[in-house]
């Protein structure tokens, strides 16, 4: 049965991903904005990824859904939280991973895992979106900088302006007043990145962080934040080529495990 296809689908608050896995190989993936209708987005995501790989729906062995919208994926066989999936996915990409930092659209999480890729403990941010992808988006908008260029911009300066408020609403007005006070955009961005990274570092104190760290989620694409996190933790961190698909990958791996264990 070498042609078994497993699908992982991750419906996040901001973006959604679908991924096809055959044996140990990622066949194809698709990424799109979640929008207001997660059911529809899930279907579109799947359609797109199947088209990319020219595979038909009936060849799929199992679909595992994860992410904030996992319960609303109509065609799932099973749902698993993104915490379990990120641990699986990260360990598949970097087998020595023992800690995963995931900063997504509206949540940030730190997960510790064992050598089997199983979660041993985790923490999540509290209810507000401070220091998440959404937070960065709002700040990019306020600073009139493209989101994808924030990382590089912040690396141009050594030290950021200190940002006192991490609440999205207050930080936005603080950022605007910092511009008025004449601070450079790069320094402000660096300041924002520093506050996000130190928030993550503080959260990590609730866990026993050890081993290699893998950084996943959309925010991992921001090399500025990755750089500061690396410094704070005092070790290098793994960043996947496409950090956004780690959750979907983990879900597909979970599907594979279920089928192989005969649980599905």
């Amino acid at each position: 049965m070498s042609s078994e296809i497993f699908v992982g689908i991750d419906i996040g608050s901001l973006s959604s991903e679908a991924l096809l896995l055959r044996e140990e190989e990622i066949v194809a993936y698709s990424i799109m904005r979640t929008g207001a209708n997660p059911q529809k987005t899930a279907a579109q995501c799947l359609e797109e990824v199947l088209a990319k790989a020219t595979i038909s729906e009936k060849d799929i062995s199992m679909v595992v859904a994860t992410g904030y919208g996992r319960i609303r994926v109509p065609f799932k066989s099973m749902e698993v939280t993104e915490i379990t999936c990120h641990a699986r996915g990260a360990q598949f990409l970097f087998p020595r991973t023992r800690t995963v930092i995931d900063i997504g659209g509206q949540d940030s999480k730190i997960i510790t895992l064992n050598d089997q890729g199983r979660v041993t403990d985790f923490v999540m941010n509290d209810k507000c979106a401070a220091g998440t992808g959404r937070f960065l988006e709002v700040m990019a908008h306020a600073l009139e900088v493209e989101l994808s260029k924030m990382g590089k911009a912040s690396l141009k300066v050594k030290k950021g302006v200190s940002i006192t408020s991490m609440c999205t609403v207050f930080a936005e007005s603080e950022v605007i007043s910092l511009i008025a006070e004449g601070y450079g955009v790069e320094e402000i961005i660096r300041g924002l990145h520093e506050s996000i990274a130190s928030r993550i570092f503080r959260m990590s104190k609730r866990l026993r962080v050890k081993g290699e760290i893998t950084f996943s989620g959309g925010v991992a694409k921001n090399e500025g934040i990755a750089e500061i996190i690396k410094k704070l933790f005092g070790m290098s961190i793994n960043i996947p080529d496409e950090p956004q698909i780690v959750g979907a990958l983990g879900a597909a791996l979970y599907a594979k495990e279920m089928v192989h264990k005969g649980k599905w």
């Binding site: 904030y68 319960i71 403990d121 209810k127 609730r206």
Partner: protein, 415 residues
């Protein structure tokens, strides 16, 4: 708007009407689909204290949850509990309104039980008190808010101030306080101090306690015979509010037989039980939420909850003040955290616990402030531990998606 005002007036009138309570009883019995007869006694108990408090034939004392209820029963007064009303309001899905009402006076970062209770008082839903009695050992807010109540209703406010350490000096101080408080209260309410009535309240408290010991013993059985979600609602309610009254004995006796029957048939409350959980903190969200549904779905039983941990010794009916001193000072949630941790470790062992959830009620400093330290102890013993932030009565502080993810990830972690 006008219609709304009319409805509020109607509801206020309805609550204060003596006929309401006997009329409601059979209805509630009909509605009551639980197979458990103890639940019916709980409903009757609630209706009874509400009826008595609104009818106001005897002096009414408002108390916070941590004042031993034996005190009111021993004095022959009618106890009334604003926090209980807040949780009932929340259970009926109506707490957002009184909470919004209280927002003009209290910061939204304060405990929603108190915000809701203040809102209910401001709306005129609560029966008028003759005396207000609070205890400060688990909550700074109680002292201050209950004083504000006393200003609002223009009645006296007395307070118990239990010491932190257990020592001969603190026993002496506590005993004097209880004695002075009872004497002052009786004097203010024109009630004679009846030693016999006090002894009888302590006696009733002991009898209830004996059943509680048995029930807690039965709950060690695998599978879990009784759901923690109910342990955190009416069982905890009876524990806080009925001890010292005959209702407690009726209730606990009935519950004991119910659970015993289940245990003898090896019947669990879940069709299948994969994990046994311990719930920390006295309370849970009372408005409509998915927490216990998610746990049930995943076959995770809440086998026991901290609120029903029996911390106090059997009491001496002939020494009521000393007895209540023992009861208050042995409370494991007061004093150094080691005491609470020790009790938790004991519960983990006795109830064969696989994982521990600390429900962090927004605004509760005494409990939430210890959550991290407790976690260190449990992690040392490799016991999975989840801090679940939330709010017991304010649905605006409940994040459905986050709560689900936390709970499910926690269970996946144990799998």
């Amino acid at each position: 708007m006008r219609e709304n005002k009319f409805r509020i007036k109607l509801l206020r009138w309805f609550l204060h009407l003596p006929a309401t309570y006997p009329v409601m009883r059979p209805f509630l019995d009909l509605l009551n689909l639980k197979e458990n007869p103890a639940f019916r006694i709980w409903v009757q108990f609630l209706l009874d204290i509400m009826r008595q408090a609104y009818a106001h034939k005897r002096p009414v004392i408002w108390m916070n949850s941590f004042v031993p209820s034996e005190m009111a029963y021993g004095m022959g007064a009618i106890p009334f509990f604003p926090e209980l009303m807040a949780s009932l309001t929340s259970y009926m899905g109506w707490s957002h309104r009184p909470i919004a009402k209280a927002d003009s006076r209290l910061s939204t970062d304060l405990c929603s039980f108190y915000r809701c209770a203040l809102g209910l008082a401001l709306e005129g839903f609560l029966p008028k008190p003759d005396l207000i009695l609070s205890s400060s050992h688990l909550c700074d807010g109680a002292n201050k808010l209950f004083h504000y109540f006393s200003k609002t209703y223009k009645c006296p406010h007395l307070m118990l101030d239990p010491p932190y350490h257990e020592s001969s000096s603190s026993h002496q101080y506590m005993k004097e306080q209880i004695k002075e408080t009872v004497e002052n209260a009786c004097h203010l309410l024109h009630l004679p101090i009846h030693r016999e009535r006090f002894s009888s309240a302590i006696n009733l408290s002991n009898q209830a306690r004996q059943y509680m010991v048995k029930i807690n013993g039965l709950r060690r059985s695998i599978p879990s015979p009784f759901p923690g979600s109910e342990g955190l609602s009416y069982l905890a309610g009876m524990n806080f509010y009925s001890i010292g009254s005959p209702w407690a004995i009726q209730f606990y006796q009935s519950l004991y037989h119910f659970i015993q029957n289940r245990v003898s048939k090896q019947k669990g409350y879940l069709p299948r039980e994969k994990f046994r959980l311990l719930w920390l903190h006295h309370v849970r969200p009372y408005y409509k939420n998915e927490i216990f549904h998610i746990l049930n779905e995943r076959e995770a039983a809440v086998s026991f909850e901290e609120s029903n941990y029996l911390y106090w010794p059997s009491l001496d009916p002939y020494k009521p003040y000393e007895s209540l001193t023992h009861k208050i000072l042995s409370n494991v949630w007061a004093g150094p955290i080691e005491r609470r941790v020790k009790a938790i470790e004991e519960m983990v062992q006795n109830y064969s616990i696989d994982g521990v959830i600390h429900f962090s009620h927004w605004g509760c400093r005494q409990s939430c402030g210890g959550a991290a330290v407790i976690g260190e102890w449990l992690k040392e013993k490799n016991i999975p531990y989840l801090i679940l932030p939330g709010d017991c009565t304010d649905p605006n502080n409940y994040s459905q998606g986050q709560t689900r993810t936390r709970l499910e990830a926690f269970i996946e972690m144990m799998e």
